[in-house]
């Protein structure tokens, strides 16, 4: 047995890199080289605490793992000299400690389990994320990796599908179709050739769970796909991944190569006689390719446009052969189900939604990140316990679940449990797992407009309701946001939305109206304020707000004058208070952000009238 080395983990997924992980890694390498320390640096994926990136963990032999957050390159020498050399953790940077074999080694440091961010999570799918080096297959093998595969190779395909059926796993891509049933339909299709496709075309803006999983633990997904191939009798699988995720593509390539070298992929897998090959297909930037029939068209090298179903892919799929398509997260659930058994898996969750769901918790919450929660947890628990409430002491307004196909849920839905059916009933969908929290400064009409802009851009144009409907809905929403809304617009909007929902060809169009319908349902007063009072209650719609200087607070520092790109501010120097010229101001808000004396305020029509009254 080797003497245990000191280990330093650094989170090097896209989020970590965006926060400057490369500089921290370089600083750590420099320290090690300078002091000639025997330390192993492990570049891990995403542990999930995005708001605390860059994360750096230190594990001294036999001691618990200590996580440091918001680490800068300047902090690295301090952590090295204090913690690693003297054994004294640097308290001010610590996020928490993860006990090894439930031994707590440091006094006065919170344990992971007691951190608000962690306490209500159930991390069973992303448990290896941040623990292992995603580019080393041995790390995965050390965590029971590919055990499920060797187990299923001794089972019959029927028994595997039975296990998945027992787990009642539902598709994690959004639709929520029972995975076991899907597999059994494809397994019973009569064909020499079948295909398995992993849908990693995570196009929803505001969602990054699949990226994190693939960047942090690619082998778990690959193992799930191989098991699926074996169960349905496919010898070839595709991973269709969006090209906006270069790091995930890179890590998948490495993982597939390693799996081939170890005999988990390729010919005669683990001596079972089963052959399976996996190919990566990169998307080219078309959101609609997340729809299964469009995705298959894209793999076949055509324009990624959906086609009517039936026939379903399980009968006529890729290259005309029976094909099964599942989402990344669905596949990541498979090895776990095989290892612990479908029935045990199904003990977590609600009556009709079993297991856990990974969400990308983002927006205006204090703790953003990738979280995994048991089905049935409430939105309130996610936002206020795990997310630790709204940032900057603002008020909660809504949470957008399910991306462009989902909806905005407000206060009244805070106690809605997270499961497929409750969310659909509330007007959102489970979706792939984007969960964007919005506060009082977010305008719900603008959000509806934002999503419709996205849909209108991404509509493939094949069917009329989606192509023209989205255009018309966008026009209506745009004019409401600009203060040109008409009284009849809401009725028209609702009618259009329902028509597009009923008549569109594919999922993109069918669900595209959800952001409108849900905001109309829960935030109608905001629409009415825009239309009747020409006022944006959130003070977000540029055409409906005005920036003004409170002369009393102005210290004439002229910062606002300098920052204004449209020369709309006069005065502001030599004792003369600044003054904003209405005609020139484009409401960009730069002066508002810049002013250190809170002398610039944003007003809407109501404030304006109120001021007029007091002046009179």
């Amino acid at each position: 047995m080797n003497k245990e080395k000191i280990k330093v983990f650094i989170g090097m997924a896209t989020c970590g890199r965006a926060a400057g992980a490369q500089a921290v890694l370089d600083a750590a390498k420099y320290e090690i080289a300078q002091k000639q320390l025997a330390i192993e640096i492990i570049e891990t994926g995403c542990i999930g605490m995005c708001s605390k990136e860059v994360l750096l963990d230190v594990v001294l032999p036999g001691k618990s793992r200590v996580t440091y957050g918001n680490v800068t390159p300047q902090d690295v020498p301090v952590i090295f000299s204090e913690h690693i050399e003297k054994g004294l953790p640097v308290k001010k940077l610590i996020v928490g400690q993860l006990p090894v074999d439930s031994k707590i080694n440091y006094e006065q440091i919170a344990c992971y389990g007691s951190l608000p961010f962690m306490a209500k999570q159930k991390r069973q799918i992303i448990k290896r994320c941040g623990e292992i080096n995603p580019e080393k297959i041995d790390d995965y093998l050390a965590f029971a990796g590919y055990k499920a595969l060797s187990k299923v190779l001794k089972m019959s395909p029927e028994a595997i599908i039975k296990e998945i059926e027992d787990s009642q796993l539902r598709g994690r891509g959004g639709g929520g179709f029972l995975t076991g049933l899907k597999w059994s339909i494809c397994a019973s299709a009569q064909s020499e050739i079948k295909y398995m496709i992993c849908n990693a075309d995570e196009g929803d803006p505001g969602a990054f769970m699949d990226r994190s999983l693939l960047e942090s633990d690619p082998h778990s997904v690959i193992e799930g796909i191989i098991i699926g191939c074996f169960a349905i009798g496919a010898a070839e699988g595709y991973i269709y991944i969006r090209s906006e995720y270069p790091l995930a593509v890179e890590r998948l390539k490495i993982a597939i190569k390693q799996a081939e070298e170890r005999g988990f992929l390729g010919k005669n897998i683990l001596g079972s006689g089963f052959n399976c090959n996996l190919k990566i297909k990169k998307g080219s930037g078309a959101f609609v390719c997340g729809e299964e029939t469009a995705l298959m068209a894209s793999i076949e090298g055509r324009r990624g446009m959906p086609r009517p179903r039936p026939p379903f892919p399980a009968e006529v799929g890729l290259w005309g052969k029976p094909t099964n398509i599942n989402n990344v997260e669905t596949f990541a659930n498979v090895p776990l189900i095989i290892l612990e058994g479908g029935k045990t898996y199904a003990q977590t969750g609600t009556l009709k939604s079993k297991g856990t769901k990974i969400f990308a918790l983002t927006g205006k919450v204090n703790n953003t990140g990738m979280i995994e929660v048991p089905m049935g947890i409430t939105i309130r628990e996610i936002v206020f316990d795990i997310g630790q409430g709204i940032a900057d002491n603002k008020k909660f307004k809504a949470v957008q679940i399910g991306g462009p196909s989902g909806g905005c849920l407000g206060h009244t839905n805070l106690d809605t449990p997270i499961d497929y059916d409750s969310l659909t009933q509330a007007g959102a969908i489970m979706g792939s797992g984007g969960c964007v929290v919005m506060d009082e400064d977010t305008c719900m009409v603008d959000i509806a407009r934002y999503f419709m802009d996205f849909i209108q851009n991404e509509s493939c144009g094949k069917c009329v309701p989606c192509r023209i409907g989205s255009k018309r809905m966008l026009e209506i929403l745009t004019r409401i946001c600009q203060g040109d809304g008409r009284e009849k617009d809401l009725v028209l909007l609702e009618e259009l939305a329902n028509n597009v929902k009923a008549l569109s060809l594919c999922g993109l169009g069918k669900t595209s109206a959800n952001p409108i319908l849900s905001t109309l349902r829960y935030f109608k007063d905001e629409y009415i304020a825009h239309i009747k009072e020409k006022r944006c209650p959130a003070k977000a719609c540029k055409k409906l707000i005005q920036y003004r200087v409170v002369a009393l607070n102005c210290k004439t520092c002229s910062l606002c004058v300098k920052v204004c790109s449209s020369n709309a501010i006069e005065g502001g120097a030599k004792g003369v208070a600044a003054f904003i010229l209405d005609g020139k101001c484009v409401s960009c808000g730069a002066c508002f952000e810049k002013c250190p004396h809170n002398a610039i305020v944003v007003t809407d029509a109501n404030d304006f009238l109120r001021d007029k009254e007091t002046q009179l």
Partner: protein, 154 residues
């Protein structure tokens, strides 16, 4: 011609396979930063596909470009999380600093500015990327510095 030679190498790699035109076009896009007219014509004849089909693909997917782009690609993420945290202002600032609009390339071919739907680093919103560098928690002021200070001009 250089374009043809390099395109031929890519097409050869895929054995002139008709089914692989999307992959071929992706590789051509990566090689040149855009898909030159000459390459499209070559692929059409080498793989025996109609020009119209190739243009159908090229205009459908947003990641194909038919004209050369800048040396540095500045992408401003406008995904949902970035949107609620003020990404539009970053875009406006970038447009102002570079003096080009979304989708355009500066006259000196130094920069191309792009608004993208989501790059999946939502936890650090708002996000921008230049080439392969990712920046989180970006403000209009910072975008100015990122563009000017990073030595992307060299």
């Amino acid at each position: 011609m250089d374009y043809i030679k390099k395109t031929k190498r890519i097409v050869d790699k895929y054995n002139n396979d008709k089914e692989a035109v999307l992959d071929i076009l992706q590789d051509v896009q990566e090689e040149f930063g855009y898909v030159p007219k000459e390459s499209v014509a070559y692929i059409a004849s080498a793989c025996s596909v109609n020009l119209s089909r190739l243009f159908g693909i090229l205009t459908f997917y947003s990641q194909f470009y038919l004209s050369p782009r800048g040396k540095n690609i500045l992408k401003v993420c406008c995904g949902t999380a970035c949107h609620v945290k003020g990404a539009e202002r970053n875009l406006a600032k970038a447009e102002e600093v570079l003096n080009i609009k979304d989708g355009q390339t500066s006259a000196d071919r130094m920069y191309t500015l792009e608004k993208i739907a989501c790059m999946g680093a939502c936890g650090l919103a708002p996000v921008v990327t230049i080439n392969k560098d990712v920046y989180g928690h970006v403000t209009p002021e910072r975008i100015d510095k990122i563009i000017k200070n990073k030595g992307y001009r060299e």
